[in-house]
Symmetry: C2
Subunit: 369 residues, 2 copies
């Protein structure tokens, strides 16, 4: 799906052959359809369940440093690319015009827990641009954060669009539309300037022509575009190492990257992978989960981007696969070992709390390779 | 893992070759490791996620009527075989000695929702045998049923072992132990007579030697045994058509089957697959879900047993795969089409409630074959 008109950002992934491919990077199980087994779930001495998937590690030149499964297959990127969707918020000048800061920018990149701090900041941001919760078109759901959900239910309240994990991203969309004088109603539509602007950014950052790509409504009603996994990783590599980007884009990416990495609570919340791993890595690693087993990461210290998709869509597997890849690269070397260990191999416990197994990276992924 | 000492219940699954195997029964994707794709998750025009697995349909002679993937692979049966675990409760005479009825027997076979009706009946049953919640060794968790969980949280209560979805099964174990004068403490241990008795029943009903089979603690702390999928389906076929069983076993199985099929609310609860599908089939179909994507069913009208395991452990896929197999057999023909349709292809919706995709049986499973 490479777009010939997009050659300024074009690159040769060359994942079929070529010197960029380490044969030791975990392709042992590649013959199996749907990608190799990336994650195993053990109970006692037995592997009880298995998760397959595709993943790759790439640098800003498009050189693939490690790959598993079919990295050319298009996947809906879902919430894993909120950092890319925030680029027009910066480049349009909307962000600075409204005097916003890193917390708001992190919320624009977030799938937040709907904890009070998230909800209050999104509400205040909406007020700043002269809008309110009723302008959000993302729909409502109970906070991901169980205690916050329970508190709301026990107050006999219904969740609002503010609690939707995507409310920060949507407020970013509205901010851009207001600043540019665009109609805010319908900003979730594929043809609205907000979404068309993002489509252009996605083409530029992924190096993929997406004008004819399949798309569908995401859970929060905006278009989610089918993008080859290698394109997602390439975009993350541009964030990790933006030196090939035009100056304006480079500046926007650096601002987003900083907010993403240094406001980990705003990006997710209590007990979540993104928050805990980014905190443990002290802002040197940016990760972002998406629905249906998609996960992206940008690693500035290594100049690398990572993207993965678990075939069956399981978040438990996406988390462990991402942790295993970060460890393989070395990005967890300085991280709190207790936190890193918890995400590398989350225990399976009985209802009494006795550990009887674990979710863990499969040999091809976790191995030294 | 067939036990040569167990020839009274032995059978020849012959799944590698032989006249029992229809080549049209969905083996197209068999070359892929880990089983063929049984279930797809769509969004717009694209299949976003895929679930692989193994499944088979068998009759009481062991003749395989349909199979997908590796049916010889041992799987932890988890809660899908609670009907088998209830057999000693009947055969020991414990059930009748305490004057119990179909509701209790269905609870013994259940993974219940922890709704008030479930919790109250388990508590009353425990009182009947002179025990209480503190004798249950299953551990506690919030009710599966969201409204019941919220009500408990808002009353500032903690969940007890009564709310554990396995509390009915555990109360059945305790009832047998009390009746036989066995020590109740430690009834969850592999070596306790309660569990050893069940191990014998599992060997007899599955036709598999299990004395050396791997086992581990289930979520409720009892041993879960690794049993070849074909053995699970064979056991379900003995329930569907118990004419080859010794008379005492046959009588127990018929009583369990009746309670299982005619008390669908006790087996699961509001909004659950087992409850809704068994209600829709008016007691002619018995189904039981287990954790990590295991599902079993007994179909008396057809004399067939069904067992399946989703490789990645996803319940959404296990539900849809079971519904597709039931439909294929014809067991949903008389069922309420609205309910059947909801479980055959549960919609994927946005947070606004707009349908954008579905979970559905893959061609090899759902097709006419």
């Amino acid at each position: 799906m490479t777009d010939p008109h997009n050659h300024d950002h074009g690159h040769d992934h060359g994942h079929e052959h070529g010197p960029d491919h380490s044969p030791a990077s975990g392709t042992a199980d590649l013959a199996a359809g749907g990608g190799p087994i990336l994650v195993e779930v053990t109970r006692g001495s037995v592997v009880e369940s298995r998760h397959r998937g595709s993943a790759l590690i790439v640098d800003r030149t498009g050189a693939v440093q490690g790959h598993w499964g079919d990295i050319a297959r298009p996947v809906y990127a879902r919430s894993a690319i909120k950092s890319l969707q925030a680029i027009p918020l910066i480049e349009s000048g909307a962000f600075d015009a409204f005097g916003l800061g890193d917390e708001e920018l992190a919320l624009a990149c977030s799938s937040h827990n709907g904890e009070p701090a998230h909800v209050e900041r999104v509400a205040a941001w909406l007020a700043k641009i002269g809008l309110s919760e009723s302008d959000l078109e993302c729909g409502a759901h109970l906070p991901f954060h169980e205690d916050s959900a329970h508190a709301l239910v026990c107050r006999h309240e219904h969740p609002s669009a503010l609690h939707n994990n995507c409310s920060g991203k949507h407020t970013g969309f509205l901010t851009t539309a207001v600043h540019l004088g665009e109609k805010t109603k319908g900003y979730i539509r594929y043809t609205h300037p907000v979404q068309q602007r993002i489509l252009g950014v996605l083409e530029q950052m992924t190096g993929c022509g997406l004008g004819a790509a399949p798309w569908a409504a995401d859970g929060c009603s905006i278009p989610t575009i089918a993008i080859p996994l290698e394109g997602l990783a390439f975009a993350m590599a541009q964030i990790a190492d933006p030196d090939d980007l035009p100056e304006k884009r480079r500046a926007a990416v650096l601002r987003i990257r900083k907010a993403w990495g240094t406001q980990p609570f705003m990006v997710a919340g209590t007990g979540r992978f993104d928050t805990e791993i980014m905190q443990a890595c002290q802002g040197r690693v940016m990760t972002k989960v998406g629905a249906e087993g998609v996960f992206c990461a940008a690693l500035p210290d290594y100049g690398l981007g990572v993207a993965l998709k678990i075939e069956d869509g399981a978040e438990r597997a996406a988390n462990v696969a991402m942790a295993a890849i970060l460890k393989r690269i070395g990005a967890l070397d300085g991280a709190d070992p207790e936190i890193a260990g918890r995400w590398l191999a989350p225990p399976i416990k009985t209802r009494f709390g006795v550990t009887v197994g674990a979710v863990r990276g499969a040999a091809g992924l976790a191995g030294e390779g």
